[in-house]
Symmetry: C2
């Protein structure tokens, strides 16, 4: 089935890689509001080129690009992707420039190749294979491609709330996924929620000579005290009511988790660690992975950060903190509890700025579309590991009432999403396109 389509994919792989490189050359960093319009326009033109009708939906932030093709099929497949990427800092750790993708040893390196421009192009290019081989698509197609996934999809609800009809489909492919450390493909059925805040302490009108620390308040010390009040040395979060309302993993999820091998010993080498947080292992490690919320310091800034000593009492200190939320927790609630915690603990001098927030969501592990993806994967890659949820976040909650979504993609455990030297294996990218063809085919069975 669809041999001409898959042959086209294989024979024109270089062209599809070039299309990916073209998109990756645009440094569409949502956190910096850079390159977003340009990336949206390129994605839209690519959708048009493969025969889709398209629309650019303006929002208060980056536009949402949609594309659709109704071939009169019984089933409809929806793709959710994003054209924005994480910042590429720290730049000095990249072996090749982040926005000048480079191929080395069968991998393509560059910011966004894994998360998620590679997936985006692989999906569009699969449609090109159908078009250029004059093969009729077995399903109707919808694309929702946003430009603020990496900053919490802050304006995506402006689009989704007005376009719920468009979101209705028989199955949906979420943005990311790939091969685990054992080489098997992985699918993710859920995403944790997130609350991202910046904490800031400012105590002086300017940085002063540090000899004055004997009589002047220190913004950095106040921030350290405030951060320290948020969690204990085991990372247990001390904000009152933080763990209230958590919806525990279901019996079927726990059962599925028991069978999953996280390859904890091998992953220690990947991360360069001797032990996991709190020396977690086995079921405890897995339960934390799928079921625990977090409070993580993404960045700390204060005073002098250059070489050698500078004796300064900094006027300002700030910190970026992300909380990963599990089902049952709501970002507004946690944000309010965080604010109350800081006030109650006397940190009225620590300002909290909300940068993003949305709740967790999952597709039921027993849904028929999950079986379809599993069957399609088997035809191309073989057995697959199905995770009830990812420890990461995404705005799945905006979609999962309308369409069962499964996250698969062309990445792998060495893809370094959000880190320097992000990359994909080109062979995985090729086969991921074959798998999309197989998903379409399986949907019609």
């Amino acid at each position: 089935m669809y041999d001409a389509v898959t042959a086209f994919i294989d024979n024109n792989l270089d062209d599809s890689i070039n299309a990916l490189i073209k998109l990756c050359r645009i440094p569409s960093v949502a956190a910096k509001n850079e390159g977003l319009e340009e990336a949206a326009a390129l994605v839209e033109s690519m959708l048009k080129d493969v025969g889709l009708e398209t629309e650019i939906h303006p929002t208060s932030g980056a536009p949402v690009v949609t594309g659709w093709l109704d071939v009169g099929a019984k089933r409809t497949l929806l793709f959710y992707d994003h054209y924005d990427v994480q910042p590429a800092e720290p730049f000095n750790l990249w072996e090749s420039p982040p926005f000048e993708p480079e191929i080395r040893n069968g991998r393509l390196y560059g910011r966004g190749v894994a998360d998620n421009k590679g997936d985006t192009i692989s999906r569009i290019w699969t449609l090109k294979a159908f078009k250029d081989t004059d093969t009729k698509l077995p399903v109707n197609i919808k694309f929702v491609i946003e430009g603020e996934e990496e900053i919490g999809s802050v304006n995506l609800p402006e689009y989704t709330e007005k376009n719920t009809d468009f979101l209705a489909a028989d199955g949906g492919i979420w943005e990311f996924g790939g091969a685990g450390i054992d080489g098997r493909q992985e699918a993710w059925l859920g995403l944790k929620g997130i609350l991202y805040v910046e904490l800031e302490s400012e105590h002086l009108s300017r940085d002063v000579h540090s000899s004055n620390a004997c009589i002047l308040p220190s913004a950095a010390s106040r921030l350290v005290l405030a951060l320290n009040s948020l969690k204990d040395s085991t990372s247990h979060i001390l904000i009152e009511g933080f763990y209230d309302n958590i919806k525990q993993l279901t019996e079927s999820e726990l059962e599925a988790i028991k069978k999953i091998d996280l390859h904890e010993e091998q992953l220690k080498n990947v991360y360069g660690i001797d032990e996991y947080l709190n020396d977690l292992s086995g079921d405890d490690l897995k339960n934390a992975y799928y079921g625990d919320p977090t409070c993580n310091i993404c960045g700390l800034t204060s005073g002098y950060q250059g070489k050698g000593p500078m004796t300064v009492l900094p006027a300002r200190a700030s910190c970026k903190v992300d909380f990963r939320l599990v089902e049952g927790m709501h970002p507004d609630d946690i944000y309010n509890k965080l604010g109350k915690h800081l006030v109650d603990a006397g940190f009225i001098d620590v300002k909290v700025t909300l940068l993003q927030g949305y709740p967790a969501a999952k597709t039921p592990i027993n849904h028929s579309f999950v079986k379809i993806v599993e069957a399609a994967n088997k035809r191309v890659f073989g057995d697959m590991v199905i995770h009830p949820t990812s420890p990461g976040s995404g705005p799945l909650y905006l979609f999962n009432k309308h369409v069962p979504m499964v996250s698969i993609g062309c990445g792998d455990y060495e893809s370094k999403a959000h880190s320097p030297n992000e990359s994909i294996v080109i062979e995985n990218y090729r086969m991921a396109m074959h798998r999309i063809v197989a998903v379409m085919d399986e949907m019609c069975k």
Copy 2:
């Protein structure tokens, strides 16, 4: 007395300012090991130009420049200065480029104009006034000008230990000083010691996606915990034995302190604060200012520090900390106690790097040379405030066994040493030269 000399100073003020600007254009930042040789060479040539014999003493770091002129006088006056400056970061807060000095409203702005290139040039230029007016100097002159004051004079002992004879003098002028908030000149008789360390935590081989915070250790959280263990919310330092061995202020010092007005209400406006640390005021504030050691965060670094959110679990976090030490405390002892504290508290993962350290020192408040400086100041500026010690640090301990030193200079309370927009009042700079002439004269009475 010496009217020709002071007239020369006044009539050639622009030339002396130009000499200062020339020195300030060299970004001699010791923390970055930049521009030091160049600044040393310029300072030496300036000393030669005013008739001194000179020598450049190599050390393991920046060279020490000395200059001397034996006119066969009974008394000898020694100057201690430094040609290095603090880093100019953060650059964006400077109203004019830090290394391109600019005059605005009677002030000269630039890195080092106050600390302490202005003082250095004013002292050299005073000698030029004697030379160019063919006036015999009333005292013999010695200069010790080092290039690593801002990084703790780490290599100065290599010079001082081999040249104790050169350090012997009847009086010495230390590097800094100036007008307080009430306009009166201030002299400083002592300097606190310092221990400057960098604390560093590293837990992963690379930054990773922050969703992994549920199972991976966080370098930033470990650093925050370690920092938090060093002092409590009142800034009381929790390192065992930290306060042992402290030599309390003497009766005469306490008596002198009682008479000093720190102008605490006015200084609140200067610093932009509503209250001092721990709401200190009155005698408590003064005792903390002159008598308390500190543990201050000079800088904090980890993870993403750019705009907006980036969801990363940083591999590394570091912090620069300075401890100001009072008499009786020794940096080696405190460094050892800090190391023991971290190990005992379980922070074997926090690496400590020693960046600088030396003990405190003071000139006795009743020393005759203090009276000489006070009398000289009275002739030029009027009454002066004499502080038993500065809350700041300097390598006075290397000198005060050989020469009684008093710190006076051309700065003022708005000079912003170590901060952006460092500046001096040009009129203070001019009068500081007159005062040096008066000190020489008073030494001969």
